[in-house]
């Protein structure tokens, strides 16, 4: 429990800084693939290119398939871990939020019985359907870094709520900044 309190304190401090420094107006260009189509370029059928997972032919190199965790039948752990906040119209984790994600990874590695649900949210700007996808990607961006830091993928589940569950119902920059977030919930079996 001491360890949990320590993590919670670190996260609280990081969050204050992060909310202050997270960009909110301009768009951020997503990093990564050039055209978004990975290996399957030039009109080539992707199923004929590269290695294929025989258990699931829709999976390709580099995929980290989602776990199928039924959280309804798990026990929630009472930890108030502050959300990871994002800039406008992007799922890139801002540098100021990275320490928070690092602390989250440390917690998940220290507490091996924990399972994590990451819920992505968006502000109300943009279309409803696009924001559902964006919320999912925000959750997955946090998941990807946790996996890189050594957390087993099968312990993490993602969920998007799009713009439907704002933390702050206001219609201004201050509210939108709080609403672009990845919320973190912990469970044990």
């Amino acid at each position: 429990m001491e360890m949990l309190k320590k993590y919670a304190s670190i996260v609280m401090l990081l969050t204050v800084g992060a909310v202050m420094f997270t960009g909110c107006g301009g768009k951020t260009t997503n990093t990564g693939s050039q055209d978004g189509y990975g290996d399957g370029v030039d009109g080539v059928d992707p199923y004929g290119v590269g290695s294929t997972n025989l258990d699931d032919p829709t999976l390709v190199d580099g995929d980290m398939p989602l776990a199928d965790i039924d959280f309804k039948n798990l026990n929630p752990v009472d930890i108030a871990f502050t959300p990871v906040y994002f800039g406008y119209n992007t799922f890139t984790i801002p540098p100021a939020e990275m320490e928070k994600v690092n602390a989250l990874a440390d917690l998940m590695i220290a507490e091996q019985s924990f399972l994590l649900l990451i819920t992505g949210h968006c502000d109300e700007r943009g279309t409803v359907e696009y924001n559902v996808s964006l919320g999912e990607y925000r959750a997955q961006a946090i998941r990807d870094i946790l996996i890189q830091l050594g957390v087993a993928p099968e312990r993490i589940q993602t969920l998007s709520m799009g713009e439907e569950m704002p933390a702050d119902p206001g219609h201004n920059e201050a509210a939108w900044k709080l609403n672009r977030r990845g919320e973190l919930s912990f469970f044990t079996r």
């Binding site: 951020t28 997503n30 059928d45 696009y130 999912e136 969920l159 709520m161 569950m165």
Partner: protein
């Protein structure tokens, strides 16, 4: 000067000669459609409330179609006469005379009183097809998401194309989104967080049954059925990225269409021939519509709205006649507007046309009416959402519902049997 007057005289004379004299061309916008003048002065009723209601619904439908304007018999190009009764059943026996009496046709039907509105809608569509030679939209319905002023969570609703007969379909107490009709069925798909995470369900409105049709781990969203009903196009996150997939309706087999680890796909829309998909991705930073041919997976036709300088383009939907409606932002118009374009290989010949008003509102989530003329969309002003119907030929927009609350994500049906 005389020459100019002579030319104008010849032009006006030719117009008078070759046009139907009693039809009215609404001026003010060059491409606005010709309205057919129609008179019901010689229609008799049995003075029942039902008969009066039947005629009211019929006339309103014809007005909403914007192909007709009701006039006095002396100036009408289409004269309707006959009887409407609504005692016990609703029945009509009407005669139409047009082209100066050179053409005539009888229209008659009997139906139960509980189908009064449906029967009137059906007759309106017959008139539209007969006199305007265009498909009607009165018999169609519109699905949408609604959040009543007193509700915390949204639900799926449906109404007739005139905004009446509003019915709440779901009562889940959870988030639900993306209702889309299944072609030629009285059924639809939508995404619901009923079990906690987004699952795609099919609802049959004839049997009021609901079945989960995609419940993979993570996100299941935006499912649309192909015109031949063999495939669903939908967005899944099962691979650890947000990607477009096809799901076979025969064996549930999956085909993955994109594998974009670092970009976000959404909003698939089928072309009417089922050979292409329009969708949205943000691989270049801002969300933009792309079009993929399915014979050649991963091939992008380079004629999306981004070619025309749109800062963002989202929410595509294809009309039956091959045009794509979408909402977009340009450098000169920073609010979402509704645009229509015809995607072809020749980009310059098909620049998008703005069909929504330029005001302080955002216009989003467009959906075609089956008449290929009207579009229903969400109008957002001061963060309140309402549904409006736009006319691509220039008649003024109309508000679909006059109900308190938030109403959005509309989807217009084809002509459905019910």
């Amino acid at each position: 000067m005389k020459k100019i007057f002579s030319l104008i005289f010849v032009y006006v004379f030719a117009l008078a000669l070759f046009s139907n004299a009693a039809d009215i061309t609404i001026t003010g916008k060059a491409d606005r459609g010709v309205k057919r003048s129609i008179s019901f002065a010689n229609v008799r009723t049995d003075a029942s409330h039902g008969a009066t209601e039947f005629l009211k619904v019929l006339k309103n439908d014809l007005a909403l179609s914007v192909w007709f304007v009701e006039t006095a018999p002396s100036s009408a190009s289409i004269l309707i006469s006959g009887d409407v009764r609504a005692s016990g059943n609703v029945s009509y026996n009407l005669q139409a005379s047009w082209l100066a009496g050179t053409r005539s046709q009888n229209f008659y039907k009997t139906a139960s009183l509980d189908r009064l509105r449906i029967t009137a809608h059906d007759l309106s569509d017959k008139f539209t097809q007969t006199f305007a030679e265009n498909p009607g939209m009165a018999s169609t319905r519109i699905l949408f998401i609604g959040r009543k002023a007193s509700s915390k969570n949204p639900d799926v609703y449906v109404c007739d194309s005139d905004g009446q007969s509003v019915m709440q379909i779901t009562r889940e107490g959870k988030i639900c989104l993306s209702p889309n009709w299944i072609p030629n069925e009285n059924a639809f798909m939508y995404t619901s967080w009923l079990t906690g995470s987004p699952v795609v369900y099919k609802v049959d409105l004839n049997t009021n049954s609901r079945n989960a049709i995609s419940s993979d781990p993570g996100m299941n969203q935006g499912a649309v059925q192909s015109p031949n009903k063999d495939w669903l196009a939908l967005v899944l996150s099962r691979s650890g990225g947000v990607d477009l997939y096809l799901k076979s309706t025969k064996d549930n087999g999956l085909k993955r269409l994109t594998k974009s680890k670092k970009c976000n796909e959404s909003s698939p829309a089928w072309s009417p021939d089922g050979k292409s998909l329009a969708f949205v991705d943000d691989s270049r930073g801002a969300p933009q519509i792309k079009i993929m041919t399915l014979q050649q997976l991963f091939a992008e036709i380079k004629v999306g709205p981004a070619v025309y300088g749109f800062k963002e383009s989202v929410a595509p939907e294809w009309s039956d006649d091959g045009r794509v409606v979408f909402c977009g932002k340009t450098s000169s118009h920073n609010q979402y507007g509704i645009y229509v374009m015809k995607p072809t290989a020749n980009a310059k010949a098909n620049s998008p046309t703005l069909v929504s008003p330029i005001d302080n509102a955002d216009y989003e989530d467009p959906s075609w009416a089956p008449d290929n003329r009207h579009i229903v969309c969400t109008r957002i002003l001061n963060f309140k959402r309402q549904l409006v119907v736009l006319d691509t030929l220039g008649d003024p927009p109309r508000v679909l519902l006059n109900l308190a609350g938030d109403w959005y994500l509309p989807a217009w049906s084809d002509k459905i049997n019910r």
